[in-house]
Amino acid sequence: MRLADLQAMFQAGVLAGAEDGARILESVKNSRQADRTTLFGVYVNAYHARLAEFLAADFPALRALIGEAAFDALADAYIGAQPSRERNARWYTTRFPDFLREQDAWCDNARAIDLAMFERALTDAFDAPDAEALPIEELAAFAPEQWPRLSFTFHPSLILLELEDGTIATHEAAMEQQDLPPPGEGRGHVAIWRADLDSVHCPLEADEFLALSLAMEGHAFGDICQMAAFRDLADASPERLAQMLTGWFQEGLVVGAKAREEG
């Protein structure tokens, strides 16, 4: 048998979990101590166990929330539906929250989906690319008339999410193996990013979530002030936006600033 055919059959056997009757077994020898089904089973079991371990490691709070049995069933379904196409195992779990959202049994469970989204964001922020924070003093280089045209770039780790209230409290309780709080009633916003090599997060008011979202899209300072949606929010004013901007600099979220050309 050619190598390519043997590898295709071997992989099919591992993915199918077929310890009996896998065609590859015809090419596998029994050892002195073990039959070939047992020996091939080492690869079948390792494949499943390894991927399940990746999921459990990246979503420990979700596992605590929905329970081990439900999590393991969900992991089984994900592994069955989604063979890894990632060279680096780091990225295998990335689609898990989306998969959860696509499942009939889970699509209405905002608490579980949002917790999974939050855990993925913590993981993504943790090893996102590095970037030097821009000191706020750099803004002195811009003339006052340039300010309305200023736009900013943000740290690559920064992620904004809308989550069910209580998601972060649930995460914290789960990580400390405490009793989980009851589900929240409304929805709120949170920023997740990396500071001092660890993922951190902070709740955002609706106006700051909107302003930061617009700023991350590249909208200029003056444009954000003008945006009707922003103006409609309580306490929205250029002064409020300047205050937010100062906070973003203080948190090290801003890594670049430039003034758009006039005209």
């Binding site: 190598l3 590898q7 992989q11 596998v28 991927l51 890894s84 196409r85 680096n88 090893d127």
Partner: protein
């Protein structure tokens, strides 16, 4: 054929030990990284690696090159690996005589091959292309395997020697893998050790494994067992002072326990060197 200079006795750099390594600067001669763990954007993994690199030689050991796969080589992956190597300047770069998947799928495992002339020509050609691309000689490790194929036409050690000769690559002799595969397939681990070309061996791996009775699995979650220490002693006598490290990837003990294992390895090496000195005198 020139082997790289021996770095001494090393350990795997694993996240659980970052703080202890950086705060105590332990007497470890060098560290080996799992390359893929640092092929990420940035953050703690790359920051810790750069700090450790400032004080210790580093060797890059990969698990995802899939040298024996019949899929095309993944040059996106190799580009990332090359960029990491250019940043870290490792003493060398290694990966396994194994494949990880075909048809674009990755099983995240080191999968076995039949030891055939076809596979030998295929892997040797790929090793040469990887070496050309990376601009450095590759160090290729024998993997632990749990199945043997009817299609095999030669022994694993004959395959490994011929691969090294044809591709002009170096070898990472995983002593524990020799033991595990020897047990699983019923070959004599001593014969494997005694047959490998000494000029090609750049590094040894040592590790613990799990004894499942009918077969053994390379789990890296236990101390090195007595049989593998004995095999190390045999390898150390045959191959001389080769850079050696202990892999531990699960069931992590206090770091001191790894240092104690490393001390045991040093004692064996020192004893052999003393014997050699006496017999030469």
């Amino acid at each position: 054929m020139t082997r790289p200079p021996a770095l001494g006795h090393g350990l795997g750099l694993r996240p659980i030990y970052y703080d202890e390594i950086l705060s105590t600067r332990p007497a470890v001669d060098w560290f080996e990284i799992i390359s893929e763990n640092y092929m990420v954007g940035g953050g703690r993994p790359t920051a810790m690696l750069e700090r450790v690199r400032a004080d210790y030689p580093i060797v890059m050991h990969g698990v995802a090159m899939s040298l024996a796969s019949t899929d095309p080589l993944d040059f996106d992956y190799l580009s990332e690996l090359k960029a990491l190597a250019e940043r870290i300047e490792p003493a060398w770069v290694s990966d396994h005589l194994a494949w990880t998947g075909v048809h674009g799928v990755t099983l995240h495992d080191l999968l076995p091959i039949p030891y055939t002339e076809e596979a030998l020509a295929h892997v040797a050609e790929r090793v040469m292309r990887v070496q050309d691309f990376l601009g450095r000689r590759l160090v290729v490790e024998n993997a632990s395997t749990y199945v043997a194929f009817r299609e095999s036409e030669m022994s694993e050690w004959a395959f490994v020697n011929e691969l090294a000769r044809r591709a002009d690559c170096l070898l990472l002799l995983d002593v524990n893998n020799v033991f595990v595969s020897g047990f699983n397939h019923g070959f004599d681990a001593n014969e494997f050790i005694d047959t490998i070309d000494p000029d090609r061996v750049a590094q040894f791996h040592m590790a613990g494994h799990t004894d499942n009775g009918t077969h053994r699995i390379d789990t890296h979650d236990q101390p090195v067992c007595d049989e593998v220490w004995a095999l190390y002693e045999r390898a150390r006598r045959r191959f001389g002072a080769v850079s050696t490290m202990i892999e531990r990837d699960d069931n992590f003990p206090p770091f001191d326990e790894l240092l104690t294992e490393l001390g045991h390895m040093r004692e064996i090496a020192a004893r052999i060197d003393a014997e050699n000195t006496r017999s030469a005198a």
